[in-house]
């Protein structure tokens, strides 16, 4: 009797830092797969992954001049799922956390589940995780809002100036074509204009980059909000805006809570 070999998919995070941030289960999925596809931050990380599993293929080649990132991610998804459909045990590894600010891994998992493919989705240490320890910020302290820069600009969002605001990918702000790989000060000025509706021009903000190599330093540059557009930025630079106002007590709610407690 012939049996049809069904493919399996694992989507894992490799963490931000080479060799330091991967979980044991993610490493095991990479080692045990028939084939590994990866989109990681560094050629050194690719070399390391290929040492864990020699049947390794980089997805970086799908990034191309003039091709939108949307097309690139669709190609990544199509390629990985084709290998699964060939009956292989496939691991797709993405740097950082595969479920945080990452369209392709989520789409892979959605599509695999839609096709009733067995799928494992494993976290990794994200840039956000590194940000909290590198900058000494506790998101539970006064709260923390996160937005992708372009989404933040395209929609009307309610910013709470008494909480931290983290803007991801500011270098790509307003990139309608999704083909830019460099920041453009004209769009950054628009982002600054929007932020100035909430924060004073002299408010100090932080440009942050997590370290991806273990012996490299992270970036943490404090700049004035009004000077933001002129600062050097990479695709992976994150903008961290500390609170500009103290927390305000909701006295009415406190009173209602007290009255409930008294009745109890």
């Amino acid at each position: 009797m012939h049996s049809i070999k069904s493919g399996r998919l694992s989507v894992v995070g490799t963490g931000m830092m080479l060799g330091a941030h991967i979980t044991p289960i993610a490493k095991s999925y990479i080692e045990e797969a028939d084939i590994v596809f990866a989109s990681v931050s560094h050629s050194a990380s690719e070399a390391w992954l290929s040492s864990l599993n020699p049947n390794f293929y980089s997805l970086q080649q799908f990034y191309g001049e003039g091709r939108s990132r949307e097309q690139t991610y669709a190609l990544m998804v199509e390629t990985v799922l084709s290998a699964v459909n060939d009956g292989k045990s496939v691991c797709a590894a993405f740097y950082g956390h595969p479920g945080v600010f990452a369209w392709a891994p989520h789409e892979l998992v959605r599509e695999a589940r839609r096709l009733s493919i067995e799928v494992a989705f494993e976290p990794g240490i994200s840039a956000e995780d590194c940000l909290y320890t590198d900058l000494g910020i506790d998101p539970g302290d006064v709260g923390c809002q996160h937005f992708a820069a372009s989404q933040f600009m395209y929609h009307q969002r309610r910013v709470d100036p008494s909480a931290y605001l983290v803007i991801w990918q500011p270098a790509m702000a307003g990139d309608l074509s999704m083909t830019r790989f460099e920041p453009d000060a004209r769009y950054l000025r628009l982002l600054v204009e929007l932020l100035l509706e909430t924060y004073p021009a002299g408010h100090k903000v932080v440009l942050y980059e997590a370290a991806t190599l273990p012996f490299a330093d992270m970036r943490s540059d404090e700049v004035l909000l009004e000077k933001l557009a002129e600062q050097p930025m990479a695709m992976h630079t994150t903008l961290v805006i500390p609170p500009s106002q103290p927390l305000k007590r909701n006295l009415e709610m406190i009173e209602r809570i007290k009255s409930l407690s008294e009745k109890a």
Partner: protein
């Protein structure tokens, strides 16, 4: 895997290595047969210099955001390119 990457992986996962003095670290790097250029870049801790050592281009997996939802029209071409890639491996 190059000695530089072997050392990077070891360094990344070893609290002992991270706590070493510069002189101790140089000794370990010598044992990995790292070049003087590689050793100097590691000791500098400068991300750009280190990235240049290993041709490290950084690309990010982003969330592709458009002002309005648009249906992609390039799916057929994507499928063909993906199939060609798979045939090649």
């Amino acid at each position: 895997m190059s000695n530089l990457i072997k050392f990077a992986v070891e360094f990344g996962s070893s609290a002992k290595l991270r706590a070493m003095s510069e002189a101790e670290l140089i000794e370990v790097m010598e044992s990995y047969e790292l070049t003087q250029e590689e050793q100097a870049a590691i000791l500098s801790r400068e991300p750009k210099r280190l990235a240049d050592l290993s041709n490290g281009d950084v690309y990010c997996v982003l969330f592709p955001e458009k002002p309005e939802d648009e249906e992609g029209e390039e799916k057929k071409e994507d499928k063909e390119e993906s199939q060609n890639f798979l045939k090649a491996i």
